[in-house]
Each structure stands twice: as C-alpha cells, then as structure tokens.
Amino acid sequence: MKKTLRETLSYGDFVTAALYLALLIFGALMVRSATFGTRFAYLGNRQMFWAVLAFGAFSLAFLIPYEIWVEYSYLLYGLCVAVLLSMPVLGHYVGGHKSWLYIGPIGFEPSEFAKVAAALAGAAFIKELVGRAMGWREIGILSAIIGLPMLLTLLQPDFGTATTFIPLVAVALYLSFLPLTQIVKWCALGILTLMLLLALGWFTFLKPYQKDRIITFIHPTANTRGAGYQVNQARIAVGSGELLGKGLYSGTQNRLNFLPAPHTDFIFGVVAEETGFLGSLALLGLYLSLLLRFLSTASAARDSEGRFIVLCAFAVILYHVLINIGMVIGLVPTAGIPLPFLSYGGSFLVSMSLFVGLAANVRSRRYAQ
C-alpha cells in the first residue's frame, strides 16, 4: 500500500488535480455570489462545506488505486441499485420527484453516486474480458449494467439525471469493436431517429410544458412573460456581462432576481454576467483543459478498464457542461442539467469529484505493474 501510494505520487497527475481545484474554488465563489444577499445566502457557506467534502472524495478516488475501486465495484454497484430500488419507499420528494435520501439530517441523491458505481462496474466487466474486443453481446451486457440504475432513476421520475447515464453507454459503444466510420454512421442514424421521434412525439406524447421548452429554445422572445422568460433573462444576463463583466457580486440580473435559479442550473449566467466574456472563456478553457487531459489519459492508460473509467469521466462531464452552458447561452433547449463544480449541490459535486479523482488515478498509475 505504501509502495503504491509512493508510485501514485511520483507519477501523480497533479495537472488534473490543479485544474480540478481551480474549478472547485471558482465554483464555490460563484455559488456565494449567486446567493449573496438572498434568503439562500447560507447555501454559499454550505457549498464551501460540500467543496471540502468533495475534495476528500476526490482524494480517496485519487489515492486508492483504481484496481481496488474496480475490485469492489460490484459491491458499490449493488449497494447503489439496492438504494435506488428502495427509493419509492425511503425517498423524499424534492422538486416533483423522489430522488432524495435522508440519513439523519444529511440528504443526498443516490442516482448521482450510481453513475460512478455504474462506471466502475462497467470497468470491472471490461476487465473480465481481458483484452478481447467487445462484440454486440458485450455491449448489451454493459448497457444493461448502466441501464439498470438509469431505469430506476427514470422511475423516480428524474428525467434529467437519467439522461446523464447516456454518456456512459456512449462510451461503451465507442470503445467497442466498431471502427470510427461505423460509429459516426451510427451516430448520424441515431440523431436522425431522435429527430423523427421528436417529430412524432410532438403530436403524441410530449406534454405542453415540454413543447414550450422547445419553442422557447427556438424563439426565446416569443413569450417573454411565460416560458421564454427564463431563457430571455438568462440571455440578457450573459450578454450584459460584455467583455469584462460587471464584477463579482455585482451582476444585476443575478442580484435582483431576474436570472432564474442562479445558484443551480443557471449559474453560468452569473459567471458570464459578473466575469464577462473573458471570465466565461477562462471557465470554458478550464473545462477544455480538463477534458483534453482526460483524453490524453485515455490514450496513456495502461489497461482498458482504466481507459473506460477515464472516458466515462470525460463523457459525463462533457455532457453536463455541453447541455448546461448550451442551455444558458441558447444553443440547446432548457433542461435541468447542472454545471459540474459550479452548480450548488453536494451529491453532484461529490460524484463529479469522484470521476475526476478516478481519472487522475488512472493517469498516475499508467506505469504501475
């Protein structure tokens, strides 16, 4: 154990750790600004606490060799699935779905941890293949491993969080025997099918509020007092930040409550408003650097399970960043997907930290025997 720790530290991925810390601190700061002077001001302090806790989780994921994580992954996975199964009984309603579990005064979202567990369980399955290329059967099993907690999350019914399992499936597909050209072809086909489904859904199963969101995405000023209000105000927040921003704690859209959910889903609006184009670009740069680092780790990883874990971290974080920032700047429709390391929330921060820690772990141990 001592030897592995020394090994980890000697080849330690401190670049990832530094990027992570920068995001963590930036996030805690932004939550403070987003809640400053409101009745949610205490969340600013609480997020500091979560950040400390998340850093602990990161350290664990970083320092404990990932082989051990993979070894106990089925146990973690089983625990998560068991908790998710018990959610209809034990869960608490928050925001219309039973996704919260309370142990004493501390509440957390099991589905967030299930994501990590599913990624580890997937890695464990890939390890068992010992290098054999994945065929359709293996993809099917992997998808089932990931799909089970996803389905349980969907039943809560937390649609938004459930979609965050999709990147894991995508990773499984991506690492399969299929060549790149095939994958691109399949993706194109998938997107086409999705659009057709959407068109079909428009006339059948989509609920009015869901349709509203799509309309609002396409034409946000169509109804500035209704569904379009949030998107419109978010866009004003982003645009009015201009080049240099209005300064921390000085965003008017944020401070005077024009920006909806400023400390959770729309926190990027606060970033853009208060730190301007340069600040936003810096944040994007941090994400880009982290994700590029993950890709480099993926090619340097010493085994396929490590590679799978890193790509899972890559895919999950990319998905969140893409959907969340895309929503705030009006590139994708409104969806309740939080922004990693910035949006308020303990479970989410901890699970994202676990992913980053594991990715750094994989890189640090790329030469280990």
Binding site: S240, Y249, N257, F258, L288, D303
Partner: protein
C-alpha cells in the same frame, strides 16, 4: 495490450479531441457574439430591467388675486388609472370593476380615454375617487391588476364658479397638446389650461415634471441595496414647480358684482383705466371650474355646452352687441374734436327725423324739443345724434375709432377674444354690402346699424375717455401697463363730456348709480334684441326678446381710477339694474363699502378638504379679514407713471 494502442483507438481519441475543440470554438464564438458584439444591447436590456423611472409631478402654479387671496390651488387627490401594459383582459377588468367598485364603463369609453391620453398605455378612468375605492383596488389586485391608484395634484378653485371665465379651467393634456407643448413625460396627469388665465398663462403655471430612477427587482419592487451601485440608478431630476401667478382681479369686488346680478345674465368688467388692470370680470351664467379638474363626465359636459344660456361663453370678449346709446359720447367727442360740433350746437327733436326718404325715430316718441350737446347726452336724444352723425360722417369717426380700439381686439390676456365691427365704407365694400350711403351714418351715430362691440371694447372707449386719450391694453395678469394707443383729447372736450356724463348720473337716465360724494360719469344704453319700433317699451316683451341693458362709465370724474361696463342681457333699459350693479361695484372700490351679506356665495369650496400646506389654510380667512371696513381697499392705486394721475387718490 498495455501501452500498445491499436490504431483504431488512437483514431477514436483524436476524433474526440477534434470534436472537443470544435465544441469549444462554437461555444466561444457564441459567447463572443452575445457578450461582445451584442453586449451593449443586452446591457441596455439589463438596465431597463432594474431601473424604473418615476415621474415626480411638478405642481401647477397657484392663482392669487391682487390682494393675495387664493383663487386656485392644488389639492392632493387620487385617481383610478388603467395600465394596459400590465397585461390581462380588458373585458374581465371592466366586469370586475363594475362588480367591485360599482363603476360602469364601456369598452368604447375606455378606448376613448386611452386615445386621449398622452401615454398610450395609460388611461385615467376616474379622478378624485372615493377613498373606499383605494382599498378595494388594492385588495382585489388579482382581478384588477390592470388598475391602480395614483396620487395627483388636482386643480381646486376655492371660490367655485366665481370669476370662472377669467380663471378658466384645466384639463388633462391631450396627445396633440403634448406634441405642441413638447411635453414627453410619461405622465397621464399633466394638466393644461383650456380656457381663461389658466390657458393664457399656461407656460408660467405649468411646471416641469422631475424624474427619479429607482432600482427595482424582478418583482418590480423598489430595492435599495447599498452593496449594489448601479449606473443610472439614483438619478434624480427635481420637478420645477409652476409659478404662482398674481392676477389683477379683486375677488371681493367680483363677488359683489356677481351677486348684484341676482338671477340675471350678462357681463361686467371693471378696470383701472391708467393701467389696464382688470379688477372684476363677470360673465354670467358662470360654471364651476372644479368640475373640469376632476374628469368631467360626458353628460355634464354636454349639459354645459348645450345650455341655451351658454355658460361657457366668455361674454365680455365673446359677446357681440350693438353699443346703443353708450356710443354717443364717442360721437360727441369726434364732433367736438374735429370742430363739427360745439357744446352750444343745438338740434330740434320732434321725436323723429326724416332723412333720405326714411324716418329715423327717437326713443322719446314726442321728442325732446330743442336739444344741445349736454342735454342730448343726458337725455340720450337719438335725433340729436342723427344730426351729429350726419354732419360728422363715417370718415371722421373711422379716424378716431382706432384710438379707442373699435373694430379691433383689445388684446386682453384671455383666449378666444373676438372683435365687434366698426363699419367703414371700406368694410362695407369688402362685405359686398354696397356703397356707403349718407343714411348709413345715422344708425352708427346712435350705436346701431352695422356697429357692434364686445363689452370689453366698450369699456375701452370709456377708459380712454377717462384717461384723456390714452388707451391701455386690458390685462388680468399683473405686470407693467401696455399703452395701446394715445391721442390728445383737448381739455375742453374732456370737460364737456365729463360734465355730460356726470349729468347722466346726477339727473339723467343713470340716476340709479348716484353715489353721494362721488362724481360718477356714465352712460346708459340699450342694445336691441328684436327690432322694436320707437317708443315701445321693451319690458313688455317676453324676457328673451327684451333689449340688453348697457351701463358704462368711469369714476371719479376728476381723477378716474376705475372704468367699467355692465351689460344685463334682456335687462330692458340700462338705467336700472345695470346702473345698480355698477353702483355696488363703485361703492366697494371707491368707498370700501360692502353690500349687506358679503359672505353669501363666497364659500363655494368643496367641503372636507385638508388644507394644503403651501396655501393659506382657509380661503375664507383672508377674505373676512379684508371685509373689515377699517381697511381701505388697495386697488385705487393708479400704476401709471408719475404725472399721469397727478391729483392722487380721491
């Protein structure tokens, strides 16, 4: 497989790298577009979000009479405003309004109110509303969210209808007026003068609204956040209040005169001949200008404008009548000055004069016998003036007319003045009425025929006589006198005319105006309403066909400090009521005398109002103080420069 990456995996990872970069560039470009290219636009939107301009209403200036009595002030009142920008159904709001407030309005009425408003989204539905409504509107905001209560400063006239035509009334600014006056405040409560002094002195009276930029949150609530210093917030432009305007009117004299009229209609104007200061401006029937400063209901408006007695008509400058016998002193003056007549010139009056195949009657059927100038004026002998007019001719009269303001507007500072006609050959030709016949001179010489005047024009003639030829522009606003024209009337002529006019009051047709100790110069007159034949007593006719009675003059004879005109519509001969009215006014002005019940009719102020801090607390208080007989009236001060009134006060 460790370390040995198959090429397909490397490809896949490179592909992901490429995708990542593309996404980064797309997002960065999008941010650049929103924040840098469109940044100023969104900054403006965000500023509009958090700032709200609040109009700081400028109070309109007060109107004071010459002794400082408040004739018009501002009263805090509350109004019901419809704001269409709030969103919601107008039909629903109207139904709820009817149910909750009991206020019935049709959609058309509301739309008309919106069109009249200078702010297209706001309409003032009701002004000076009951306090109960305020609570009801607040309590039912869910249903009445398009409605709100606004405080405004409403015009209030404590004396009610007294002097209504001089003061005028105000109304809410219309979009057209807003354009004309270049008012662009977002305020539906700007009042502008629509008539009277309120209109002519509007520029002085109207203040300029101020503006305050408040910081509001997303709920539209004003928030003061010391941690947030925002550009544009806190800007405050103070309102500039309108100026207090001092009028030359004496409200007490005004009261006395209006009461003296009793139930009769007509007009009366009292003026300082040396300054043009108008001391009283009576036009009866009058109206209550307070009605207009609350939103005047359409029915009330119709009632006023369709009333056959025309209460909205400003009679002293909009009523045109033949001057009748009151014109004779002017004719005498022209005759004397141009050497056509002398005081000793006599004519014989058999009751008529046949001229050019027509018979011209004297009002005395049996005639006045041999009449000289003094007697002609004292007895108002028509035949005497037929002869005089024939000798003088229209050209001479035309030459003098302009010095007395005949045929031209006096230029008084009131809106919509019209002028009577002074006929001349040129005027007649222009009207295609044929050439001027010698016979045309005769009716003009007795103040009839084509000749017409407004009461104020007639007053101007007498004021000019009083000053010995100097004619001042009549005015209601305090200020330096303005000399309109000046002609030297010889002292002899002046003396003869004054003597004659004194005789009229002493022993002639105007004895009703005799005041012991004061030499009053005046002349009675009759303006025919229907062509009654000579000698017929018009008092036997139905009221609306009786002649109008004139009484015009000045006093005291030696040093005139006041000139006046009184006209009682359908008052029959001018010697009676019109003279009595003039006497009441002169007694007040010259002797400080008040009629028996001076309090009657002065307390027209609507009850139950909290006194305004800036105005004297009670409009009656200064009035009663001034009723103290010890205190001499202050208005006999001729303001004309040093030597013009050398004999001082009577």
């Amino acid at each position: 497989m460790n370390g040995a990456q198959e090429p397909s995996l490397q490809n896949k990872i490179q592909f992901l790298q490429a995708i990542l970069w593309v996404l980064f560039v797309v997002f960065a470009l999008r941010l650049f577009y929103l924040q840098v290219i469109q940044g100023p636009y969104y900054r403006l939107l965000s500023e509009n979000n958090y700032t709200r301009p609040t109009v700081l209403r400028a109070p309109r200036g007060m109107l004071l009479d010459r002794n400082g009595a408040v004739l018009c002030r501002n009263q805090v009142s509350f109004s019901l405003v419809l704001d269409t920008a709030k969103g919601g159904s107008l039909d629903q709001t109207l139904l709820s309004m009817q149910r909750i407030l009991g206020l019935v309005m049709t959609k058309e009425e509301v739309q008309a109110a919106l069109r009249r408003s200078p702010v297209p989204s706001l309409a003032v539905l009701a002004r000076d509303i009951p306090t109960a409504w305020m609570q009801k509107v607040e309590a039912n905001q869910d249903e009445l969210k398009m409605l709100r209560i606004e405080m405004e400063l409403r015009r209030e006239y404590p004396f009610g209808p007294v002097a209504s035509h001089a003061l005028g009334y105000v109304g809410l600014l219309s979009p057209e007026e807003a354009q004309k006056l270049r008012v662009s405040d977002n305020d539906p409560f700007i009042e502008v003068g629509k008539s009277g002094v309120e209109r002519t002195a509007n520029a002085l009276l109207m203040g300029k609204n101020g503006l305050r930029m408040a910081q509001v949150n997303s709920l539209g609530r004003e928030v003061e956040d010391p941690t947030l210093k925002l550009p544009g917030v806190g800007i405050r432009r103070e309102p500039i209040p309108g100026q207090t305007v001092h009028l030359t009117l004496d409200i007490q004299l005004q009261n006395i005169l209006e009461q003296a009229f009793g139930e009769e209609h007509g007009s009366a104007v009292f003026m300082n001949p040396y300054t043009g200061d108008i001391l009283a401006w009576v036009s009866l029937p009058n109206f209550d200008p307070n009605l207009f400063s609350g939103a005047i209901p359409a029915s009330k408006w119709r009632e006023l404008s369709e009333d056959p007695s025309h209460p909205l008509l400003d009679r002293p400058i909009q009523g045109v009548y033949p001057p009748g016998s009151t014109f004779k002193p002017f004719v005498a003056l022209v005759g004397l000055e141009d050497g056509v007549l002398t005081p000793g010139t006599t004519f014989f009056c058999p009751g008529y004069w046949e001229f050019g195949g027509r018979v011209f009657h004297c009002w005395a059927k049996d005639g006045h016998g041999t009449v000289d100038l003094l007697k002609g004026l004292e007895d108002s002998c028509n035949v005497y003036f037929y002869h005089a007019g024939d000798r003088i001719g229209i050209q001479r009269m035309d030459k003098w007319a302009k010095f007395f303001g005949l045929g031209t507007k006096t230029g008084v500072d009131l809106p919509s003045e019209i002028s009577g006609i002074f006929p001349s050959p040129a005027w007649k030709a222009k009207r295609h009425l044929g050439p001027w016949y010698p016979g045309d001179n005769l009716p003009v010489a007795i103040g009839q025929g084509y000749l017409t005047v407004t009461p104020l024009q007639l007053l101007s003639i007498y004021a000019t006589l009083a000053t010995g030829g100097e004619r001042f522009q009549p005015k209601l606003l305090e200020g330096p006198p303005k000399l309109e024209s000046s002609v030297a009337i010889s002292p002899q002529t002046e003396a003869v005319l004054k003597q004659a006019l004194e005789l009229v009051v002493e022993s002639g047709t105007g004895t009703a105006c005799r005041i012991p100790g004061v030499a009053v110069c005046a002349k009675t007159g009759t303006a025919q309403v229907v062509a009654a034949s000579a000698g017929r007593n018009s008092m036997s006719l139905p009221k609306d066909q009786r002649d109008h009675a004139w009484f015009a003059g000045f006093a005291p004879a030696g040093n005139p400090s006041v000139a006046f005109v009184v006209m009682v519509e359908h008052g029959g001969h001018g010697g009676d009521l019109a003279a009595k009215i003039a006497k009441a006014g002169l007694e007040y002005i010259l002797l400080g005398k008040k009629p028996a019940q001076p309090d009657e009719g002065t307390k027209a102020a609507p009850e139950g109002q909290a006194p305004n801090q800036e105005t004297p607390p009670n409009p009656d208080a200064p009035l009663k103080a001034r009723l103290n007989p010890q205190e001499p009236p202050r208005l006999i001060t001729a303001r004309y420069g040093g030597g013009a009134n050398p004999r001082g006060q009577p």
